[in-house]
Each structure stands twice: as C-alpha cells, then as structure tokens.
Symmetry: C2
C-alpha cells in the first residue's frame, strides 16, 4: 500500500528561489536529484476481530475504523524520527484501530480496553516529538481521534468560548472571526492541529507575545480519565488549590482525554502594522527586543532571525532588478553579509531603534507564508536531508550565552561524527523576562540518519538546559524527550508519575511518554 | 496575659466622620458605647521541655520561641471567627512553639516532628480564612514562621527576582522601587503579608487588572516537603508537564513549605492618572467596566462600589461647605441616593462613558487609604459588630445575577434568623472574561455570633457558587471553607488529597485544611 508521507496537501510543492536549495545541497553535500518521492510503501496490516468486537461494545460501527490508510495516518506524527523511518521505508508500528468517540463513550472504552490495549489520543497528528507513536507495550494499540468532540459554544458577553478538543485552528478562528473575535493561537501547524493537542503540549502560537500560550487562554478544562470524569469551573480566576487545567496542560495525553476547554477570547485588532528591521548581528537584535519587552511593550509578532536564517531568507528572494537594488541597499548599510532580520506585526505604529528600517514588505511576506515552512522541509526530505527543530525559553540575561553554547555544541558534534549540517535560529516568542529560541538544524547523511539525529539533538538539548533554558518551549515532550524530561524535572518527576498513576493506574494512556 | 487582638499597630484608631459609625450602629442596633477594648486576656500556656529539646536538634536557640506572646500571635489570623473568639474571650488553641528556620533546616524539622507535631506555616498571619489556626490533631502544634527565608536576588536585565517566602510586601517593593521596578502585588494586607502567603493563597492585589494574580507573576518555585526538596527552572515558559508553581499556588501550606520563588517584575509606570465616576446603578457601572475590559483595556486599578458601599463611602466625607456642594452636584445629576462609585487609576489618560465624572479626588483618596480598611473593622469590633468579607469571580454575563442572588440569600438568612445585618459589594479585579466581586457583610448580635456568622456566610457562598462564581477569588480556603472546597472541586478533590498524601504522607502540614 502507498501512503503520502510528507507534510500537508498531497504533492503540493514549495515554490521558491532555486538558489536557496542549491546553497543547502552544496553546504550539506546532498544530491541535487530527488532520492525520494514522498511515498511510504507498506504491507496491508492484519485486522483483529477480537479488538473490533470489543470496540463495538462502546461505539457504533461508523466510529471505528480498521482501514489501513486510516491506521497508518494515525500511527505517525510529523517528527524527524518518523520522517527518517518513512524515507528509509522502515517497518513502522501501526495502530490496530482508530476510533472517533463522543465524550460520553470514553468511559466505556477505558473499561473495555484496560487489560488489552494502549490508547493514544490523536488530534491533528502534527506532533514533532513522537507524541502519537504507538509504543507497542500492549497487545493492541488504539488511536483515539478527538474529531467528534467538536462543541463550539460562545458566551460573547463574557468573551468565553467552550470548545471541543477536536476542533482545529480554522474551526475555531473562522467561527470567532465572523464575530470580530479571535482566540489568538497560531502555531505553524494551525491548519491541522487541534485544541486538545495545543493543551496537551502547552502550545504557543506565532502571536503568543500578545495572546500568551494556550495555558494563558484557559479558564478551565474537561477531562475523562480511567479514574473518573473531571470538570473545572469556567470562572475568570479562583483561589482554591489547583485546577485540572493546571495539571493537564502539557500532560501529553497521559492523565486522561482532554475533551474540551473554556477559553478566553479577544477582539481582533482593528488594524495591523508591519515592519522589518535589519540588525548588524543577532545579539544587537536581541538587545533591541529586550529593551522593548522589559518596558511591557508586546508587539503581536516579533520574530528575529539569526544571521544564518536571515541569509537563507534573503536567498528565497527571486533575483531581479529590485532584489539587486535591495541587496545593494543592505550592503551600503553594512548588513548584507551578517545581518539579522527582525519582523514585527502590531496593532500600534511600530518604532524601534538600532536597526535598519526595511519597510513593511518582509513582514507582510512572512505573514502570507506563515504556515508554509514545513513544505520547505518536504523538499529537503526528497533530497535525503533531515530537518529538526528544537526550542527553548531562556531569561534575557542568558540568551546569547545559550545561543553560543548551542551553536558550539552542534559544531562539535558535527565535527566529532564527521557529519555535514547547518543550524539556524530565531527568537519568536518574547516575554518581559526573556525569549524563546527556536533552533532548526539540517544534516545530510546516506546512512545512520536516526543515530546522527539523536547525537545532534542531544548535543543541543544538553547545552540548552546547561545554559539556563527550558527543555522545551511549545513543542512538548512526546516520546523523544522522555529521558531528558526525567533529568530536567529532578526530584519532582516522581510526583508527575504518581499523578499519572492516580489518573491512569493501568497505564493505558500513551504509555511511552513517562518511564 | 494581655494580647492586643485588633488589626495593625497597637491602639491605632481609624479617623473618619462619626456619622458613618452612627449610621451603622443605628442600622444594626449596636451600642454606641464600646463594649471591648481590643485586648485578649489569656492564661500563661505551659511550655514543653520535650518539644524544645526535639526542636534543638534542628535549630539554634535563637530560632525557637516558647514565649507566650510569640505563641499567641502565631495562633490566630485575622478572620472573623478568630475575632469573635478574641472579642468573647473564648479559650483559644495556642501553638506550643514558634520556629524561625532557614531553608536548610526544614528537612530536619520534618524528620524530628513527624510523629509528634503538626506544622503550620506562618507568613504575616493575615489569613481571613483560618489558615494559620492550629488544628490540635497532634500532640504538639508548631508554627513555622518564614521570616528567615529572606533572600532577595534581582536579575535586572531579565526582570526576574528571586525572593524568599518570608519577605513582606514592603521588603519587596521598597527594594524594587529604588530601581524603578515593581512586582505589582498590593493586597489590603500588603504591609504585613508575605510572598509565601500570597503564593499559598493564590493572592491578588489591588492592581491585579494590570499585574495579574501572584500566579501570573511566578516563573517558578522552591518547596521543601516531607517527601523531598523541589525546584522549578526559572525560565520564561516551558512545555513539559506541570511545574511546582502550578500545584503549590493556592495550596495553603499543605504540600510543603514554599521557601522562595522566581518572579517577573515590571517597570513602574512613569505617571499615574486618577479619575472617579458615579453611575446611576451598580449594573450600569458593571456594564461600563465590561465594555472596557472586553476590548483589552486594563486600567491598573478599577474599583466599582455598589450603591450601599458608595453610600457608606460618602458618609466618610466630613461635613462642610465643599461636601455640601459636592452632594448637591450629585443630587443634581440624579446619582446621590443610589449612585455607584467607580474609581480608576491608570498610566494612560482615562476616559469612560456613561458615568458622571467626579474628577480625581475620590481615586486619590482611595489610594492614600488603600491599606486602612481593616482599621475601620477594628472600630466596629469594639462595638460588638462582626465584619466578614467573601469574594468570588464570575463571568461578565452572570455578574448581576450572582450579585442579586447573593443579596437575596443574605436578606433571607437575616430574616429567617432574626439578625440585623448589612451587606455591600465592590468589583475590584477585572478580567477580559469577568470580574471579582468582593462582598462585605456586617452584623450585630449579643450572642451566638459564631453560629450566625456561619449561617450568613454559608448563605452567601452557596448562592455564589450556584450563580456561576468561584468559591474564592483571592482569600483562599484556609480552614473555614474546607467543606465547601470539597463540594466545589467535585471528583477532582480526591486528586488533590492524593497529591497531599504524596508530599506529606504523615499529614503534618496544616492538617485542618483538607479532610
């Protein structure tokens, strides 16, 4: 059987300047010719009558699927480990069934499956941390797709939305936008990812400067666990121990199925302003951002690329008269070769000191292509190049140290292992106290891809945490970072396991996440 | 022995217009003559050599006190139940020792006391919910005063403060203010209450519109529990399960001793503007506030008193030519008898529609006396009048219903029990999604005060929760609301108990809070 394994719409290609790809292939020693068509070939998996008849006790037929294509698409996320497996045509664990329950059917499912299956909650399947991979620790693996948890109830006077966990970005925003409202969570996966997934990973979107992480939007949660059904009170604030929202946010689906949430919505800004600046270096750009944020000025978007990412961005601009003029201008201002690009979107007029003002175009261009970056990775994968993204958050005072340490560790790891790779970074979620740094690294190898990936990733994460950063800013933990999580949380890790044990004593929910 | 039992500085009186008190005494049928001098007489409590010698294993002598006055002052908070006991000269449980450990001494204390004593963490002793009362469930009660956890370390570039749990409001603000910074938490108890207490109750201050609740200021916590020592990472944000801060905020000292926290600080506004408005009714004022907040305009302070509280505020203005002029103006504008007063403090010029503009004076007056209200209750207590405050938060759409229901329930409870009382309210912590309502009720009775207090409080809390409000907005749960907490949390309550059991398996920390 044949499964289209790349990001997004089948066959859609990312149109850009060829010189961008040429540069990357040359730097990484990757072939100019495609070595993969993006399809994964797999044998038709077996179907279990036993499992089917168990599921039928809780669900009507139309909410159970044993279809191979449904199952394969629910057995992988969009992480680099998965992509390597798909590219290499490795054998993958495939879930035995996909179910689409309603909230009231979940308790029955827990009861019936508790001795026989693991349950992996599936939202949009865009996890980049292995969050939806079956662990194979039980006889059966069942993917629980949340799409039928799709309530949408708006209390417009109170600016409170109750939304089902299975609603995707556009389901929420299109509906709110008609009323002049927005939730404000725009991750790169926006078109596919779900509210439940955002909560389970404590996601942040591209406008988090203004709207916060999903955690900041949550008034309360509903969750169904093997141990029972739980609901918070949808109130603006309370002072009474912790809420379900406090522990289930970032919980990776291991405590229960998050079925819905009460969320704070906001008015859409009346007008947006766009502006880009070029700084002489990433450090100078970081300092300009810091100066803005410590004074509590929060532009809706502020996104600063380091010199490498800026250089690649400039390569995407098609050659021509205007481009040459633009580049001559940058050269004149001494920022062509090593500049660091900052784009800002805000609902107030934008002013910033210390950078070369590039007008509004680069920011508008970013906005128009804000969800397209994964399509660029598709192209690279077709040439055998693996891309991985790793993100952290770090106090202002340690940003540059962390940045340098990560770059140094990555270079060392490349050298020690004789791999060709490149790393770039942007700061894209700013706070009064610091910023998130989002690293992207690329490498090419004809063999041992998974091993090298792990080595490179480990070098970065160790360096990040050593330098005072968080283990993750908004991608979550999934199954890739389980060992790192344990170390990061220290003695507190045991309390999380104890909590897991309380909500899910038989360990049927996403058992690969916690040890 | 003789203990001064009223709020604040010994003997300090609240100077205001006598007509305010005359009105209250008349309405409640309370005596014009003082019936209490504010002192509590108690017998010298015994001293335990056994306990002292156990404590000496962990602490030097200067950090252990068996002194009766120290002990009595650590055995009561500032709640109405305590005040009734003090006023009536009832026997009170008095802790057997007060200790002032450093962070590194806490583990030893847990070890030595685990079979013999309860430990009640004590910050400023300003709990209004019985949070510091000994339960008497163990042979000994020990009050653990946090004052020696007093680190103050500022990373000014990152706007991150590490502060010890024992620091009081002025310790934090005075130090920050010198650098043009503020934490921004200004509860009425500000002069006495501590960071640790703010965290343990998830407090909110008078400027929470802008700066949020203490929860919103927390980057992470340090906590020492019987089960171990824990620390969060001081990062702007993370995406990796929950933090200690997520579960210990609002935890009432039952999971561990919060020893310190990393906090986000802010720049002090360069200039403040003050403005007051009078609305024709509380409902009209609420709607004006709602219109402001749903558009994400957050004045630093906005405080709307209902008609009763407004009336009492006007009574505090001394009679005279200007006052008469002012009242004639209000009468002319039709808002003298039933007006609802809104005061606003902001760092931007203030404009608001629908209210009668009263200039800046009332708001400046409020600011000058912002911590003085408890002294007014002192005066009432001297006349046998009990004051209780109960607060909730509620979505905009339910504010007025909740307000009416609470008033109705209170009136019914007064009537059914033949008690004289009055109730008033203000909205003082606004959100995009709703507001906190802060109810104050007063009643006078020569007998059965505690019983009547409970009846009146229950009538309000039931009505609040029934109407979609939270059990508490910023006072916390303490020991007064333990039964209500259980009902409020529903099935989720058990997970909190399980958490308690994990961190404190021998139930030595504040055992009266959870069942």
């Amino acid at each position: 059987m044949r499964y289209y394994a790349l990001w997004g719409e089948e066959g859609k290609r990312y149109e850009t300047n060829q010189s961008l790809y040429d540069y990357i292939y040359r730097e990484l020693g990757a072939p100019e010719k495609e070595i993969w068509d993006g399809y994964y070939l797999f044998d038709e998996p077996g179907k279990s009558d036993e499992l089917y008849s168990i599921l039928k006790k809780c669900l009507p037929e139309e909410r159970i699927s044993l279809d191979p294509m449904e199952r394969i698409s629910h057995s992988i996320g969009r992480g680099s480990v998965e992509y390597i497996s798909l590219l290499e045509g490795k054998n993958l664990k495939i879930v035995d069934a996909v179910i689409y329950p309603r909230e009231e059917e979940i308790e029955c499912i827990f009861k019936e499956l508790k001795n026989i299956a693991e349950i992996i909650t599936f939202g949009g399947g865009t996890s980049v941390t292995g969050g939806v991979l079956p662990s194979g620790k039980r006889k059966y693996s069942v993917s629980l797709d949340t799409r039928n948890m799709n309530r949408f109830e708006l209390d417009e006077r109170s600016m409170i939305l109750f939304a089902g966990a299975g609603l995707k970005g556009p389901d929420i925003e299109n509906n709110l936008n008609q009323r002049g409202l927005t939730l404000g969570n725009f991750p790169e996966s926006f078109l596919y990812s779900t509210l439940g997934g955002w909560i389970a990973t404590n996601a942040a979107g591209q406008e988090s400067n203004r709207y916060g992480k999903i955690k900041d939007m949550l008034l309360g949660l509903k969750m169904v666990s093997p141990s029972g059904k739980y609901s918070d009170h949808p109130v603006p604030a309370e002072s009474a121990f912790y809420r379900i929202a406090d522990i289930a946010t970032g919980s990776e689906g291991v405590f229960g199925i998050i079925t819905g949430a009460w969320l704070k919505v906001r008015r859409i800004p009346e007008r947006l302003y766009y502006r880009a600046y070029m700084f002489r270096s990433f450090s100078e750009g970081i300092e300009a951002l810091r100066q803005k944020f410590v004074y509590s000025n929060f532009p809706i978007v502020s996104r600063l690329s380091d010199e490498k990412e800026t250089y690649l961005s400039l390569l995407t601009i098609k050659e021509g008269f205007l481009t040459n003029l633009f580049k001559r201008y940058l050269k004149l201002r001494n920022v062509l070769e090593k500049g660091s690009l900052l784009i800002i979107v805000d609902d107030k007029k934008i002013s910033l000191e210390g950078g070369v003002n590039l007008g509004s175009m680069p920011a508008k261009l970013w906005k128009r292509t804000r969800y397209d970056r994964p399509y660029m990775y598709n192209e690279l994968l077709r040439h055998g190049i693996v891309a991985e993204t790793i993100e952290t958050s770090v106090p202002w005072n340690s940003v540059i140290d962390l940045y340098k340490n990560v770059n140094g560790s990555f270079r060392d790891a490349l050298r020690d292992n004789g791999i060709k790779g490149m790393i770039m970074c942007h700061a894209s979620h700013e706070y009064i106290t610091g910023t998130a740094l989002y690293f992207t690294f690329l490498f090419y190898s004809e063999e041992r891809r998974e091993e090298y990936l792990k080595i490179l990733r480990d070098s970065i994460i160790k360096s990040m945490i050593y330098s005072g950063g968080s283990i993750s800013h908004h991608h979550g933990i999934g199954k890739y970072l389980r060992n790192e999580l344990k170390e990061y949380k220290g003695s507190f890790y045991e309390s999380i396991k104890m909590m897991k044990n309380y909500f899910d004593p038989d360990n049927i929910l996403n058992p690969g996440v916690l040890e």
